[in-house]
Symmetry: C2
Subunit: 172 residues, 2 copies
């Protein structure tokens, strides 16, 4: 019914954990157990995760939820993770792997919450146009796509968007 699930995608050349923690030291941030656990976990995932998901995925006692929130702020500020917003009220975070991956978008299934990574940003040109047209500087953009994935189309789901709770993907 679901696809092979949000596979952990171990099949990629991930930056060694040591390299990640060293980036903390370089900015004189302490390499603590919670931070290592978080980075180790994010390293295994290629899709944005909510703090709740991250917390649940970590071994019990690895990291307090409050510490997790604080850590994500830190990592975001250091540019090591990127924050995404799918409009369901919970922030999602993804490890930044290489400059190219820093800015990108997603295609989210409103039915099963499956996420497709959209690595190319074709909005860069639009951004420049919009900025110039109104005299704005340092313009950025947030862009996410939502739709029904092939699997959920089959299942014959209708999913009246207006009726679903405003928060959280339906999960069918």
């Amino acid at each position: 019914m679901k696809k092979p699930a949000q596979s952990h995608d171990h099949d990629h050349a991930a930056e060694p954990l040591a390299d990640l923690t060293s980036r903390l030291r370089q900015k004189s941030q302490r390499v603590t157990a919670p931070r290592q656990a978080i980075l180790a976990l994010l390293r295994e995932h290629r899709h944005p995760m909510t703090n709740k998901e991250i917390h649940a995925a970590l071994a019990k006692g690895d990291c307090d939820l409050a510490t997790l929130y604080r850590s994500m702020h830190l990592l975001e500020g250091m540019g090591m993770v990127k924050r995404f917003d799918f409009g369901d009220g919970a922030a999602r975070f993804e490890l930044v792997t290489g400059d190219a991956h820093a800015h990108h978008h997603h295609l989210v299934c409103t039915c099963c919450a499956d996420i497709v990574e959209i690595d190319d940003c074709f909005a860069a040109e639009l951004e420049a146009r919009v900025a110039a047209a109104h005299g704005f500087k340092t313009v950025t953009h947030k862009l996410e796509f939502f739709g029904v994935c092939p699997d959920c189309q089959q299942a014959g789901h209708s999913h009246d968007k207006a009726k679903r709770s405003r928060r959280k993907p339906c999960g069918c």
Copy 2:
């Protein structure tokens, strides 16, 4: 320091209030005082407003905050208002004036929160491309631009994005 402010923009041919309420009746929704007050207010604004802003703008006692939230859900479901998300934790709503206005985007000043309406959606093509590439159906997108408006550039603000609170525009 600020521009003429979020002017009420009375200078547009707005749909008569009666036409709006009649749309409620057509779908057998009751025309109540709170709903009329909300519609009358939204009719005066062309930019997305948070429920807090709407509630503050209404005469005291016109509409309870809980009723306001419920009303926005109703109106959104009826397609009379559109919900926008600027990533500051509070939903914003705008009256839908004509089909053409239903889907559009914004350019938001991260400094003074000034909003520029971007009526053209140049992302429609991208959307189709993304949908086709991954077999998704009924694909939609959310897109907002953020930057520093001309006024705030002058003021010599730096605004280290990483340091600002995650929520709410700084307001300088």
